[in-house]
C-alpha cells in the first residue's frame, strides 16, 4: 500500500515535471521575443538571446510602430495595423452574417438540393488556395476590384464560407425542431423567423464565429499579399517586408517588437476568450 502511494507520488511529480518542461519550451519564444524587443542593438550584438535586457527601453517599439521600412514607405507597421483593421471589420461581419443565413436555410428549411450544395462546399474547404488563387485574381481583375479593399474582403468571404456555414448549420440543427414548426404554424416567413427567432438565439455561435474570423483574417498573409493592393497591405505582409526585405543591418529588437505588435490582436482575443476559442476550433474541426 505504501509502495503504491509512493509510486503514485513519483508519477505525479513526473506529470508536473513533463508539463512544466513542455510549458517552458512553448513559452521560450515568447520570452525571447519580449526580451529582445526591449534591448538595444548593441546589447543584442554582444549578448545572447536568453539574457534579460539590462536597460529595457521602448525605442524599438516606437520605431517598429512608426519608423520601420515596409518596402513601400518608412512609416512603421502602424499603417498595416489600420489596414488590417479596415480589412478585418467587413471580413468578419459579412461572412458571419452570410454563414448564419446559410446555416439557417440549410438546417431548418432543408430546401431540395441543399444537401448537395453543402456537400460541395465542404469539399471546397479542402481545396488548396493555390488552386483557386489565380482564377480569382483574373475574376476580380475582370470585375475591376483586384488589388483593392473590396477585392480582399470578397476573397475572405469566399474562403470563410465553408467553416462559417458549417458552424451555424450544426448549431442550428441542434436546436429543437418543434420551434421551427411552431413558428411556421404562427405564420412566420423565412426572414421574420430568422431575425426575430433564430438570430436572438445565436449568441454563443456568433461569438465563436467572430473569434475564429478575427484570428483567421488578422493572421492571413497569402490572401492579403495577393489581393489587397499596395495601399491596403495588412500587418502580416508589412511585417514580413520589414524583417525579410531590409537592406543593411537587421534591427532585431525592432523586428521582434513588430512581430509582437502584429500578433497582439489575435493573442489578446485568445487570452480574453480562451474557452470560446477552443470551442470554436473543436466545433469546426469535428465535422
Amino acid at each position: 500500500m505504501a509502495k503504491r502511494k509512493a509510486s503514485a507520488r513519483w508519477a505525479r511529480v513526473g506529470v508536473y515535471a513533463f508539463l512544466l518542461f513542455a510549458a517552458a519550451f512553448f513559452l521560450l519564444p515568447l520570452y525571447i521575443m519580449l526580451t529582445t524587443s526591449f534591448k538595444s542593438m548593441e546589447e543584442i550584438r554582444l549578448g545572447q538571446i536568453f539574457a534579460l535586457p539590462s536597460a529595457p527601453s521602448l525605442d524599438a517599439w516606437r520605431a517598429a510602430w512608426s519608423e520601420a521600412c515596409t518596402g513601400v514607405s518608412c512609416d512603421g507597421v502602424r499603417g498595416g495595423f489600420w489596414n488590417s483593421v479596415t480589412i478585418a471589420v467587413p471580413s468578419i461581419v459579412l461572412p458571419i452574417l452570410l454563414g448564419a443565413i446559410n446555416g439557417y436555410a440549410l438546417s431548418w428549411w432543408k430546401p431540395k438540393g441543399g444537401e448537395w450544395l453543402f456537400g460541395i462546399l465542404m469539399m471546397g474547404a479542402f481545396i488548396p488556395i493555390q488552386v483557386m488563387i489565380y482564377p480569382l485574381v483574373k475574376l476580380e481583375a475582370a470585375i475591376g476590384i483586384y488589388s483593392s479593399l473590396p477585392g480582399i474582403v470578397l476573397v475572405h468571404l469566399v474562403f470563410a464560407m465553408p467553416i462559417m456555414t458549417l458552424l451555424f448549420r450544426n448549431y442550428y440543427a441542434s436546436l429543437p425542431a418543434e420551434l421551427f414548426k411552431a413558428a411556421r404554424v404562427d405564420g412566420g416567413g423565412f426572414w421574420r423567423i430568422f431575425v426575430q427567432l433564430v438570430l436572438p438565439m445565436s449568441t454563443p455561435m456568433l461569438i465563436v464565429a467572430a473569434i475564429m474570423q478575427i484570428t483567421g483574417v488578422w493572421n492571413d498573409y497569402i490572401l492579403g499579399l495577393t489581393f489587397a493592393g499596395r495601399e491596403n497591405q495588412p500587418m502580416t505582409v508589412q511585417l514580413n517586408n520589414v524583417i525579410n526585405t531590409t537592406t543593411g543591418e537587421r534591427l532585431y529588437n525592432l523586428n521582434m517588437a513588430a512581430t509582437i505588435l502584429t500578433s497582439a490582436v489575435p493573442l489578446l482575443v485568445y487570452l480574453i476568450s480562451g474557452r470560446w476559442f477552443v470551442r470554436g476550433i473543436a466545433a469546426g474541426a469535428v465535422k
Binding site: R12, L98, W109, P111, I129, Q130, Y134, P135, I243
Partner: protein, 291 residues
C-alpha cells in the same frame, strides 16, 4: 412546400454563386490551364499532360515534394505525439490547467508569419540559440541548421510543431474528456495501470478524434506556405522550398501559369487522397445511424 424551398434558395443564392464560381469554377479553370502551355497569360491550347511531365522533371519541384514529405511526416508525428502526451498529462487533474493550456495554445493564435519570424530569430546561428549556448560556456555547441541546405527543413518542422501541438492537445483533450468516467472506474477495479488504460482502451476509443486531427494536420502540411516564406524564404537557395511556394512563385514571379497550375492540380489530388478515406468512413458511419 415549393414556396418553402423558393424562399430558402433565394437566401442561399450568394452561397450558390460562391460555390459555383469560386470553388467549382476555379478548380475547373486551373485544371484546364494545367493542360495548356500558358505562360504569363492564359493560352487556349491543349497540350495534354505535358506540363505534368515537365513538373516531374523539374529538380526544384522534386526537392519541394521531398521537403514536403519530410516535413509532413515529422510534423504530423511530432505534433500528434506531443499533443497527445500534453493532453494525457493535463487530463490527470493537474492544478493550473487553465494556465498550462494557455501556454500550449497561444502559439496557435499567432500567425504563421510571426511563427516563422520568431523561430528564424531563435535558430539564427550568429545571434540565436547557437550563439547563446556558446556564450554561456558551451563553446562547441553547434546549431546552424537554418543555414544548412540539408537540415533547414527540420527547422521548419520545429517551428510548425511549436505552433500546432497546442491545437492537437486541445482537440485530443476534448476527445479524452468525452470518455465516460465509468470506464476509468471499471479499469481501476480490474487493477489496470493508468498508462495501459490509455494505450489499450482510451486510444482506440478516441479513434475518430485521432483521424480528424490527422486529416487536419495533413491538410495543413500540404498547404504550408507562410511559415516557409517568413522563416527561410525557401532557402538557403531553394533548399526549403515547398510545393505551395513553388506554385505561387511560378504563378506570379516566374510567370508560368501552365506549370504552376499543374503543380496546383497535383496538390489538389494529394489533398483529396488524404481526405477521401476520412469522408468515406464518416459517410459509412452516418449510414449506420451515427448522425
Amino acid at each position: 412546400m415549393k414556396r418553402r424551398s423558393l424562399a430558402a434558395w433565394g437566401a442561399l443564392l450568394p452561397l450558390a454563386v460562391i460555390v459555383g464560381v469560386g470553388y467549382v469554377g476555379t478548380v475547373l479553370w486551373t485544371v484546364r490551364t494545367s493542360m495548356s502551355s500558358s505562360r504569363t497569360f492564359p493560352r487556349d491550347d491543349f497540350v495534354g499532360l505535358q506540363q505534368f511531365e515537365r513538373l516531374l522533371e523539374s529538380e526544384r519541384w522534386q526537392l519541394a515534394i521531398h521537403n514536403l514529405a519530410v516535413y509532413g511526416a515529422l510534423y504530423i508525428v511530432a505534433a500528434m505525439v506531443i499533443g497527445f502526451l500534453l493532453a494525457v498529462f493535463i487530463d490527470q487533474k493537474v492544478r493550473g490547467e487553465g494556465v498550462l493550456r494557455t501556454a500550449f495554445l497561444y502559439p496557435y493564435a499567432m500567425s504563421f508569419v510571426a511563427t516563422g519570424l520568431v523561430w528564424q530569430w531563435v535558430l539564427n546561428p550568429d545571434s540565436g540559440l547557437q550563439n547563446a549556448m556558446q556564450k554561456m560556456g558551451w563553446t562547441s555547441f553547434e546549431f546552424d541548421w537554418i543555414v544548412d541546405q540539408d537540415m533547414v527543413i527540420y527547422t521548419v518542422v520545429i517551428a510548425g510543431t511549436w505552433q500546432g501541438a497546442g491545437l492537437v492537445m486541445a482537440l485530443m483533450l476534448a476527445g479524452l474528456r468525452g470518455i465516460d468516467e465509468e470506464i476509468w472506474k471499471a479499469a481501476r477495479l480490474d487493477g489496470i495501470p493508468t498508462w495501459r488504460v490509455y494505450l489499450s482502451i482510451v486510444l482506440p476509443m478516441i479513434g475518430p478524434t485521432l483521424a480528424t486531427v490527422f486529416t487536419l494536420l495533413a491538410v495543413g502540411v500540404v498547404k504550408v506556405f507562410d511559415t516557409v516564406v517568413a522563416m527561410t524564404q525557401g532557402g538557403p537557395g531553394i533548399a526549403s522550398d515547398v510545393p505551395a511556394k513553388f506554385i505561387m512563385d511560378h504563378l506570379f514571379a516566374r510567370a508560368n501559369l501552365g506549370l504552376a497550375s499543374a503543380g496546383a492540380v497535383v496538390l489538389l489530388l494529394t489533398v483529396l487522397a488524404l481526405v477521401a478515406p476520412l469522408a468515406y468512413a464518416r459517410s459509412r458511419q452516418a449510414a449506420k445511424g451515427g448522425h
